[in-house]
């Protein structure tokens, strides 16, 4: 099972805001256990999708140098259930990014209707013994699969591009 809880980015404004889509489908295995003949997307996986949307935003701001991990969800409220056939739009907005961590406010919408909202706090793990949590190739692949570079804008408003250090790590140091 691939741990992707968003399907595609609709917007990606570096360091500021990101919007992503999550389609809930009967083809998802776990929905048939949760629950048999009454499929509901687990709230924890909505939070995970919001965290992925916000987390990649935080990671990209730091050029994927920091190890960004979901650390705390101070507040979260759900107003309805997400069921197969729903298209959820996740929007995450950066509240702060500091050396030690970051926070986003996040919402999930079904069309215009608010489905859920949350605050999500991330920590930057700086223990050098940990090395990297992901290979650079994984980040690059994830961002490409999710269309980040197709819709994204860098801080200066220009098109979002993969950070040089990621490309170098994947392709080897070029000329």
């Amino acid at each position: 099972m691939r741990w992707y809880w968003i399907d595609r980015f609709l917007e990606f404004e570096s360091g500021r805001r990101a919007k992503a889509i999550k389609n809930v489908s009967l083809a998802e295995e776990h929905l048939h256990d949760n629950f048999p003949y009454y499929p509901i997307m687990p709230a924890s996986l909505v939070i995970e999708g919001l965290a992925q949307t916000g987390g990649l935003l935080i990671c990209e701001h730091g050029q994927f140098r920091e190890k960004v991990v979901l650390a705390k969800v101070p507040k979260v409220t759900f107003y309805s259930e997400a069921v197969p056939g729903d298209t959820l739009i996740y929007t995450t907005t950066v509240e702060y990014i500091k050396d030690e961590g970051a926070m986003v406010t996040a919402t999930s919408h079904k069309g215009d209707v608010l489905h859920a909202e949350a605050e999500i706090v991330f920590a930057h793990l700086n223990d050098p013994r940990l090395g990297s949590l992901f290979e650079p190739e994984t980040f690059l692949r994830m961002m490409r699969l999710l269309g980040a570079f197709e819709v994204g804008h860098a801080a200066d408003g220009g098109p979002l591009r993969p950070p040089a250090r990621l490309l170098e790590a994947v392709n080897g140091t070029g000329a």
Binding site: P74, K75, K98, D99, E100, G101, M103, V121
Partner: protein
């Protein structure tokens, strides 16, 4: 310019939001770690909420002086040295270090800070009317 009551109320809100505790739990004598259950990840959150609520900047280590507590100059055998204590007193005029000084075990430091200390800290950074 906020009053002391307004400062307390804003700090109360910040702690309720960051720590998920009830308003009634946030009493002036409550300790952040022992009574309110704050953990290390919470301190970042608390500092940000205070900065936002009072429109102030709180440089790293100003409220929670982790740089002193992890410096081998100031900590030996798990206890803060005299030099370390003097540094702490200088950096934290808003806190009462007398009890801690009697047995300055670093591990215990986390439980020092009370809500009242935080009020005094903020009062030291903004102008307060009473």
């Amino acid at each position: 310019m906020p009053t002391k009551d307004e400062v307390f109320q804003k700090i109360q809100t910040a702690l309720v939001d960051a720590l998920g505790v009830d308003e009634e739990d946030v009493k002036p004598e409550a300790t952040l770690v022992g009574d309110l259950g704050a953990e290390s990840i919470d301190f970042l959150d608390i500092v940000f909420r205070l900065e936002k609520a009072f429109d102030i900047k709180i440089p790293r280590g100003e409220l929670f002086p982790e740089d002193i507590l992890t410096d081998s100059k100031y900590v030996q055998d798990g206890k803060v040295t005299e030099q370390g204590l003097s540094e702490l007193r200088q950096r934290m005029p808003f806190a009462n270090l007398d009890d801690f000084s009697k047995n300055p075990v670093v591990q215990d430091f986390g439980n020092l800070l009370t809500v009242a200390d935080m009020c005094r800290f903020v009062e030291g950074k903004v102008e307060v009317t009473d």
